[in-house]
């Protein structure tokens, strides 16, 4: 049984193409409803997000059939997207799913959202009873994703300016739950930082802006209060984290203002973030006390870059973990292919033994019960001894990918039926 994945992603395909071949909610329902039109498929899961559309298919389905099915559903000729397609089979397909689930295939390296999206895709397929033979593959994918995030730092450390402000604050204060923050400027950066602070559970949030109505709007969105610009000194005094991101050509927090505001409090931890260009905060503010930190936008960017570098260093560790999971998956798949063949072979041999034993007993009506038992036991022993070496060898093939073709050879050699079809094996055995 083959597993394959065919799809497009953000690496090789521009959004103009991705959006045309993506599956929205309605199209997904339609696709799962019409899955039987794809012949020989034995399970299908469609993962479609802004950055990728991927079709995971189990069964011996020719690639052309999958593409024809896809093209029919999205009404886009395959020639328009086939250049950017990737296509992996079996172990490579498993490797791909695990890379996606762990976030190392994502545009934002190591992001965790994709793992949730993979789960959602799987659950939707499950609702449509379409998962079929892909069940184990996805369990392995989820496990690899979870392990990547719990055993490595691939998803840790901020990659956006807004989140980096929260992360840096945490490096100083620990938790931000009982801290107060002041955001000066309700423009794009101000909004972004405020949302991050609110989402990360900042204790108190104050917004200051030249236009009060905009401050009010942002404050009500993030659950903060509004501070007037002429009360800035007091607001600075009351805040642990001060983020300034205005477009003012003049400094908003001068040395004199900060010095006055922090009088008698220079020993307390305070983190100033100057996210504005030109700068809003006089650089000398950092000199007011040893526990005062001041980062401008370049400094925060530097931290983001260091974080990205750190995540890139983690990629190798995630890849090692994925190799490990892929090997286990292959082993399981190998074992799951060998198991039915072993059972079929045994069933067939047993059926032959029973049939021939019955014939022999009919020809020897004078045997005592004891003698009959001895003959039956002897035939059983002959069969077991003969099959034993073959069984042991076959079990060892499970882990060896190179020997998977042997399994098919055994099936062909002994005319064995497909997995689970014991009755057919027996019938075949009877006529052999």
């Amino acid at each position: 049984m083959k597993i394959q994945v065919v799809g497009i992603n953000h690496r090789d395909t521009p959004v103009a193409v991705r959006e045309r071949v993506a599956f929205g909610p309605e199209l997904l329902d339609k696709a799962y409803a019409s899955r039987d039109t794809m012949r020989h498929q034995d399970g299908i899961v469609i993962l479609s997000t802004c950055n990728r559309t991927e079709l995971y298919v189990a069964g011996d389905v020719p690639l052309g059939d999958i593409l024809a099915w896809w093209e029919r559903l999205v009404s886009v000729p395959r020639g328009e997207f086939s250049d950017a397609l990737f296509w992996y089979e079996d172990a490579q397909a498993a490797d791909h799913l695990m890379r996606v689930a762990s976030g190392i295939d994502s545009m934002v390296l190591g992001e965790t959202q994709i793992l949730g999206q993979v789960k959602d895709a799987y659950q939707l397929a499950q609702q449509h009873e379409a998962v079929g033979r892909l069940h184990r593959l996805f369990q392995y994918g989820f496990r690899a994703g979870k392990r990547a995030h719990s055993e490595t730092d691939i998803g840790r450390n901020a990659l956006s300016l807004g989140y980096a402000v929260v992360e840096l604050s945490r490096k100083v204060f620990g938790s931000v739950d009982d801290r107060s923050a002041l955001v000066i400027g309700a423009g794009e950066t101000g909004r972004l930082v405020s949302r991050h602070l609110a989402a990360q559970g900042i204790g108190q949030l104050a917004i200051a802006n030249r236009t009060l109505s905009r401050a009010q709007e942002l404050a009500s969105e993030v659950g903060g209060r509004v501070v007037k610009l002429h009360d800035l000194a007091e607001a600075v005094r009351e805040s642990d984290i001060i983020v300034s991101c205005t477009s003012s050509p003049e400094p908003i927090i001068s040395y004199a203002l900060a010095h006055e505001a922090l009088k008698g409090q220079a020993h307390k931890f305070r983190f100033f973030f100057d996210m504005a260009v030109p700068r809003d905060i006089d650089p000398r503010v950092a000199e007011i006390g040893q526990s005062i930190f001041l980062y401008d936008i370049d400094d925060v960017n530097h931290v983001v870059n260091a974080n990205l570098h750190k995540r890139q260093q983690e990629v190798q560790r995630v890849e090692r973990l994925i190799d490990d999971e892929v090997a286990q998956f292959q082993k399981e798949m190998g074992a799951s292919q060998v198991g039915p063949v072993i059972r079929s072979l045994r069933q067939k041999a047993e059926a032959i033994r029973q049939e021939e034993l019955e014939k022999a007993m009919n020809r020897l009506p004078n045997l005592s019960e004891e003698e009959r038992a001895v003959v039956a036991e002897t035939t059983r022993l002959i069969m077991n001894k003969f099959l034993n070496d073959a069984m042991v060898s076959m079990r060892s093939w499970g882990a060896d990918e190179q020997k998977h073709s042997y399994v098919d050879a055994i099936r062909e050699l002994f005319h064995l039926a497909e997995e689970g079809d014991a009755s057919r094996t027996q019938v075949d055995g009877g006529t052999a």
């Binding site: 490096k171 100083v172 020993h267 040893q290 526990s291 930190f293 400094d299």
Partner: protein, 269 residues
């Protein structure tokens, strides 16, 4: 058997020191570091029991024994509470220090100086609170070192190892302060039990010998630090720096004063 326990203690603590530093770079080393820490701790526990049986008393009467006991308490507290308190990075700073301190104690003679009194209950109490107090001072200084290192990275805006691996500055500052406070209380109890024991053995409560002067100085420094922290609002850099300097005074008290000056604490090399 005793030599085997000492060798295993050496291997355990040295290995833990190396691997706890390594786990700052690679988290996977953490469990091996912890395992070696336990190897050292269990070996040292067995050694202490054996030593106690051989001496037929609480094994902390000589400097040789007391430092081993001090190291045992420090490691034991770390193993018991370190992980629960999220102090795993502390291991990278603690184990190298305790390993060196323990190694230094191996150079001191295990024989008591002549004229030593046998251990009574009061003396046992004295050495136990002394060990607990000094371990608190050690931990305060460890958090101090960690604080300084992380603060340096944050101030220089060059985020590297400590930025990622060490706890928040505020948390380290709080721990350092707590250990100064706890250590000072325990050290006060050490001075009181010491004075009571001195009186019980027939001498005065306080004799102003070198050991007592140095101990009084240590007590005064930590007392000042305690007051500065909780009354004078000393935080961060200053507290961290002073908790490190003050621990040097403790080290001189243990290794310098006890070896150089005669008296009830006198140790021989």
């Amino acid at each position: 058997m005793g030599a085997l326990f000492v060798a295993l203690t050496l291997v355990g603590y040295l290995g833990a020191a190396i691997l706890f530093v390594a786990q700052l770079y690679d988290l996977k080393q953490a469990k091996w570091a912890l395992l070696l820490g336990w190897v050292g701790f269990v070996s040292q526990s067995l050694w202490l029991i054996q030593r106690g049986i051989a001496l037929a008393q609480f094994p902390a009467a000589t400097l040789y024994d007391w430092v081993a006991f001090f190291v045992w308490v420090a490691v034991g507290l770390f193993l018991a509470f370190g992980r629960r308190l999220g102090m795993r990075p502390v291991g990278a700073f603690l184990f190298p220090v305790v390993f060196v301190v323990w190694l230094m104690s191996q150079g001191v003679s295990g024989n008591a100086a002549p004229g030593r009194h046998p251990m009574g209950v009061l003396l046992v109490l004295h050495v136990v609170v002394a060990a607990l107090g000094d371990v608190s001072f050690l931990l305060a200084s460890v958090f101090g070192i960690m604080y300084i290192e992380k603060e340096r990275e944050l101030k220089n805006k060059r985020v590297r190892l400590f930025y990622y691996q060490l706890p928040a500055l505020g948390d380290m500052d709080a721990w350092s302060g707590r250990f100064v406070a706890a250590g000072w209380g325990l050290f006060t109890a050490t001075l009181v039990t010491g004075a009571l024991w001195g009186h019980a053995t027939g001498s005065a409560y306080w004799m102003w010998n070198a050991k007592q002067i140095w101990s009084f100085m240590t007590w005064a420094i930590y007392g000042a630090l305690f007051v500065a922290r909780y009354v004078g609002k000393w935080h961060g850099h200053r507290l961290a720096t002073w908790s490190m300097i003050a621990f040097l005074v403790v080290l001189v008290n243990v290794f310098g004063v006890n070896l150089l000056f005669p008296g009830p604490h006198h140790a021989i090399l």
